[in-house]
């Protein structure tokens, strides 16, 4: 498994007044789904462009499938399929024509390209719309056509830039399932960038959190939450009827439990963090005491929490996104001096 198919070493990209990617080193193994997670403007797309040799890094190296992406982009592009975040097709051509055009560009003959295109359109579920002009396609259909477009070159790696953006929830579910299926069936390596946390959480084997050009954390989701919260992370939420306030006595009782570390009251909810799984114990206790328990929820740290926690650590959100320009400039200033 220790065979990185994408290898980034000290990759940096500086624009005139901005550092888009800052000294990024990352390994992605063959056959895994890696999620690159970060807010808008974090440098995800820039990193991807450098992986494909579409943008030249200021320093550092990117190796994909054993080829240097900067020096030998054609070899990389033969093996990597890229689905950009807003992709366009030739609107006056049909889906099939669009697809077989890309197939021919990848060295397939006309017949092969067409056969392959029809096969892929079937896989992504667009067979019935094959002869429809792409100008009439919805966003979700375009995204699926885009996936077919990426697959027609039989890639080893597929890079998806914000693939779930602008698709409706059921579409997202299908799309992610399709990616997962392809990953399992064809041993494809998938690099997925997104700012949608739970989409990434659903399918990624490993996740990298990318903020302001830096990779802040890297690993699978349980280990990330461990790394981050430095706790064993068992949280139980007990919900009580909203018309009755939670008594101080109950709070104290909960704190008295052997494994409980912290008890927080949110209105009619009681959030208890504990060292081990005590949910059953708590419920039994509360019911015995005659409280009206209406809901119990066991909470594991999802990406949302991880994400927010990172922002908290990251100097109080001062780089949250590129739109708050004033704030951004300040950050930049600080960096230059530092």
């Amino acid at each position: 498994m220790n065979n990185p198919i994408i290898k980034l070493r000290g990759l940096s990209k500086h624009y005139k007044n901005k550092i888009a990617v800052d000294n990024l080193s990352l390994d992605i193994n063959k056959g895994e789904i890696y999620g690159l997670l970060g807010p808008n403007g974090a440098g995800k797309t820039t990193t991807i462009l450098m992986l494909l040799g579409l943008s030249e890094p200021t320093s550092g190296q990117a190796h994909v499938c054993g080829h240097d992406a900067t020096r030998n982009p054609i070899a990389v592009k033969q093996k990597v399929g890229y689905l950009p975040d807003n992709l366009g097709f030739y609107g006056h051509m049909t889906a099939l024509e669009n697809l077989s055009f890309i197939g021919r560009l990848n060295g397939l003959s006309e017949n092969e390209a067409e056969i392959k295109a029809i096969e892929l359109l079937d896989i992504v579920g667009l067979k019935n719309n094959m002869h429809q002009k792409t100008a009439t396609f919805s966003r979700g259909m375009k995204q699926r056509l885009g996936l077919a477009d990426v697959l027609i070159k039989k890639p080893e790696v597929i890079i998806l830039d914000e693939p779930t953006l602008g698709i409706d929830p059921s579409g997202v579910k299908d799309f992610l399932a399709l990616i997962k299926k392809l990953n399992e069936e064809q041993q494809l390596t998938v690099l997925l960038s997104s700012h949608h946390l739970h989409h990434v959480q659903q399918i990624c084997d490993r996740v990298g959190i990318f903020v302001d050009g830096k990779l802040l954390a890297n690993g699978d989701i349980p280990s990330l939450s461990k790394q981050l919260f430095n706790k064993n992370g068992y949280v139980t939420v007990l919900r009580f009827p909203s018309d009755r306030p939670i008594s101080d006595q109950l709070e104290k009782d909960m704190q008295a439990l052997s494994g409980a570390q912290e008890v927080i009251v949110h209105g009619n909810e009681l959030e208890i963090m504990s060292t081990h799984d005590q949910t059953a114990e708590m419920v039994r206790y509360v019911v015995q005491k005659g409280y009206d328990l209406v809901g119990v929820q066991q909470k594991t740290y999802g990406l949302d929490e991880i994400y927010l926690e990172y922002f908290k650590n990251e100097k109080n959100l001062n780089v949250s996104n590129e739109k708050s320009k004033g704030v951004f400039k300040k950050t930049f200033f600080r960096k230059q001096r530092g």
Binding site: T45, L54, I74, G88, Y90, L105, G107, E112, G146
Partner: protein, 336 residues
Amino acid sequence: MKNLKESLKRRFSESNGGNEVRSPLRVLLRKEVAEHIRSWRFIILLTLIVLTFIASMYSSLSNIKSAFVATDNSSTSFFYLKLLTLTDESIPAFHIFLSFLAPILGISLGFDAVNSENNNGSLIRLMAQPLYRDNLILAKFLAPLLIVAVLFFSLSFLIVGYAMYISGIPIEWQEVVRILAFNGMTVLYVGFWLSIAVLLSIRFRQPATSALTAIGIWLFFTVFFQVVINIAIKAFIPDPNYLSADKIAYYNEVILNILRISPNQLYVDASTTLLMPMVRSLGPVSMEQMAGAIPSSISLRNSLMLVWPQLSGLIAFTLLLFAVSYALFMRREIRS
């Protein structure tokens, strides 16, 4: 022999079955050509050119008889060349028309070559495919040129064929070469404007901006350039009344050379020389030089020699612009 037959057969069946693998450039070219031909823009341009052509041919066909009676003094009549250039002054000859239609053709086929692809997101999709960037820009440049070449060659061959059919006059090889050269020149001239348009389409992100800029450049060269030169001449050149004949000739030459910065001028000079064998010089000619000359047409070789500077000027301009757009595009970071 058998082997040859076999391989030919295989080759034939392969190309029949569509099984051959094409180079990316050819795939791109094919797509570009198909796209242009199916577009409304091209249909409008085609109509414009064809209508102009028909109008000028109509005027020349209806006047060609009188032209022959008046000036039939050389051994070769150049019927077909006259057909292409003759006019009754009501509308300009076809090659003069072309000197301002060709830029429109070039501009409109190229002004959104790169930026529209960039804007609708298909450029990045193309760039993620294993092809060199120059293939794309070459396809953007060569596809319209191919279409234009087919258009002009077929138009002129059609009219020559038609005239041959109705008149029965045999065509001379010299005329064939001259007409071919004229068409080549026209394609080159369109190529020049096309390279301006492609360059602007790389430079500007909005197709409207690049179209406007290209039209601005075209207007400048067709209308304002001569005005500006005339004003400048009045300001800088001394009063001709106090100059010797030598000096006047010298200044005339200078003015003409400045005017030749304008590509239209180059094209008009070159096409006139190619289509009218009677034209023997593009600059002023003194009485002494004319003294011993026989009023006959000059040979094809001499005509070609005469237009060579114009031709190389246009080629140089085109290549220069193409090189600039190439450099710009290669260094461009493409993002959607």
